[in-house]
């Protein structure tokens, strides 16, 4: 379990970045403990709000003793509210949350794959992998160019960066998984790190497996608490003992081994799950 803190955090800046907003938060109390893959949960709505639940965002960057950063899309009413906030406003945040990406103990070839704002946590990860001596390829995809994030920044860090868009407005026309096999082969990748929509993660896990690379996938399940107390954020994951359990993505994830998640069975209770309904119960 991460050692999360609930703190008041002032907005240092909030600026558009393509289709997204780039939020920088003053958070000296937690910045030093952030690892790539951690997330932050932000309370939304202010005085008299009807929105009880926090919104979860991958931490994009952490500056020691100072700040953490987030890249987000104004989507439903909570993120719309957040997008309206101005520098100087105090937010109530909890961070760092979740289990981060696991790093290799030896320098190995790594590919980092991300879709849309899923790129947010990848720069920090690429940096750490480079420091460990890994060779790092980055693959970034999105529907359209304005939904790409972190292309320039990745180019400054990674050895090779490949970009895909569904409409060809930037980089290769197509999906990240179209270019992933080549990337894996180029760096003889042992580890593939992924963050993005579920169908993408599923495809990444599969391609990685076929090419004998371990994948680490950061999932995005709806969360009520983000701290492990409510059991809303579960998905079927196979444990070391081979048993499938409904596992909390907020504390046991959001990063999971791609070969352990039963991607096709997400949003179901597979019949062989630990505690799955038998005839009598429900």
């Amino acid at each position: 379990m991460s050692n999360a803190k609930q703190i008041k955090s002032r907005i240092i800046s909030i600026e558009p970045s393509g289709s997204y907003l780039h939020l920088v938060l003053e958070a000296p109390e937690v910045a030093n403990y952030v690892e790539p893959g951690h997330f932050v949960a932000i309370a939304v709505g202010g005085v008299g709000s009807g929105m009880l639940l926090r919104r979860a965002f991958s931490i994009h960057r952490a500056t020691a003793d100072k700040s953490i950063e987030v890249i987000f899309a104004a989507h439903g009413q909570g993120t719309q509210w957040l997008a309206e906030q101005k520098a100087g406003t105090q937010l109530d945040i909890i961070a760092p949350l979740g289990k981060p990406f696991a790093l290799p103990r030896q320098p190995v070839g790594c590919v980092l794959v991300a879709g849309g704002y899923g790129a947010a946590p990848m720069m920090m990860l690429a940096q750490q992998l480079k420091q460990l001596g890994c060779s790092v390829e980055v693959v970034l995809g999105a529907a359209t160019e304005d939904k790409l994030f972190g292309v320039l920044e990745s180019k400054a860090i990674a050895d090779v960066v490949t970009v895909t868009t569904d409409d060809g407005s930037s980089g290769v026309r197509g999906r990240v998984t179209d270019v992933l096999p080549d990337a894996i082969k180029r760096v003889s990748a042992k580890a593939v790190y992924a963050c993005g929509p579920m169908p993408m993660l599923k495809a990444v896990a599969q391609v990685s497996k076929e090419l004998a690379a371990y994948s680490q996938c950061a999932v995005e399940e709806a969360m009520a608490c983000g701290i492990g107390v409510c059991m809303t954020c579960v998905l079927p994951v196979i444990g070391d003992d081979g048993v499938t359990r409904m596992v909390r993505s907020c504390v046991e994830g959001p990063v999971f081994r791609g070969d352990r998640v039963r991607w096709d069975d997400v949003d179901t209770i597979p019949a062989d799950t630990f505690g799955a309904p038998t005839g009598g119960g429900h």
Binding site: L52, R105, A213, C225, I227, V234, M246, V251, D267
Partner: protein, 333 residues
């Protein structure tokens, strides 16, 4: 690549920090009781909203809470319902967790042991698919040390009665309680957890009192539904779900008020959308002896401690020196 740490491992048991005496800055006496159970503080967690307390330890000292009420445990392991399991709603949320849990044996070994070792006041919530399962659970738990009270979650479906919720029928409710009472030889009190989804909650309260409860916990969630208009079907995997949070608070306060009016001697653990000390005092004034904090914990994990402090301040502001003097104060006498 066995040299990658596996991220999907068990959560390590967390070491508790040195015990901190709660800082209710006033001199208000916030101790209270639920029948024979003395509580050092008036706020407990609500079942299903704090797991077995461990995860909350990073936000406060769980030993200083009135009690941790554990997630309802069943006899056997249970995977719960398919996701999506929640939907945010105006000032509330809907959940269909479906009582996911490890079963009673794993609960005793991993969860209750942690609570007991750390000296946490623990109220164990139990649920069954039928009357016998409730009895078996009570029997299994009766000699286990470290259980301050038993909360019997009768607001769950009775598999033997076409899924009708026990708490929605005075006879089913009573038969669960009678069975638990028979098996439960411990002196720790039994609380029945009531559902608001009934025509007359006083009738249900009366029936469980006659069946032998020492107190009631109220209210559980209201049955609700959100429709996902993109998939054109109910949003939740379980189709319907339980509505909780401040949205339902007026219903909860009304229920507590009605039951206290009818059964003034019956200890009540009040809950339903409590967000502030002011809210908590509404429940106390309506007739609750202590309160549970549920959904609000999801947005504010420090809430059970904060609300106890605020409750002290609200009492002080109104000239009370003891919480117990405020119990039922909103009733005409």
């Amino acid at each position: 690549m066995s040299d990658l740490e596996t991220p999907d491992q068990e959560i390590p048991a967390r070491k508790m920090p040195a015990r901190k005496i709660p800082d209710v800055s006033s001199s208000i006496d916030l101790t209270t009781s639920l029948g024979s159970l003395q509580l050092q503080a008036p706020t407990a967690t609500a079942s299903g909203c704090a797991a077995a307390g461990r995860e909350l330890a990073q936000f406060g000292d769980v030993r200083t809470l009135g009690a941790v009420v554990t997630k309802s445990i069943m006899k056997n392991p249970r995977s719960g319902r398919p996701t999506p399991r929640m939907a945010e709603t105006p000032s509330g949320m809907l959940n269909s967790i479906g009582l996911q849990g490890p079963g009673i044996e794993a609960f005793l070994e991993k969860d209750l042991s942690w609570l007991t070792e750390n000296g946490v006041t623990t109220i164990v919530s139990i649920a069954g698919n039928n009357v016998d399962e409730f009895g078996e659970l009570a029997n299994r738990l009766k000699d286990v040390p470290g259980i301050a009270a038993l909360e019997v979650n009768i607001s769950c479906p009775n598999v033997e009665s076409r899924g009708q919720v026990f708490a929605c029928n005075p006879f089913s409710a009573a038969s669960v309680i009678e069975t638990v009472r028979r098996e439960w030889t411990s002196s720790a009190p039994i609380l029945a957890k009531l559902s608001p989804d009934v025509t007359d909650i006083v009738e249900i309260a009366q029936s469980v009192v006659e069946a032998g409860v020492d107190g009631v916990s109220m209210i559980n969630t209201l049955l609700g539904m959100v429709i996902d208009l993109d998939r054109m079907k109910p949003m939740l995997g379980g189709r319907t779900g339980g509505l909780s949070g401040p949205a339902i608070r007026p219903v909860a306060v009304r229920a507590v008020y009605q039951v206290h009016a009818a059964l003034p001697q019956l200890p009540i653990l009040g809950m339903g959308g409590i967000r502030t000390g002011h809210d908590a005092l509404e429940f106390i004034a309506a007739g609750a002896s202590a309160v549970s904090i549920g959904t609000v914990v999801f947005g504010d994990p420090g809430a059970p401690w904060r609300i106890a402090d605020e409750l002290g301040a609200e009492l002080a502001k109104r000239g009370f020196t003891k919480l117990t003097d405020a119990i039922g104060a909103a009733h005409e006498r």
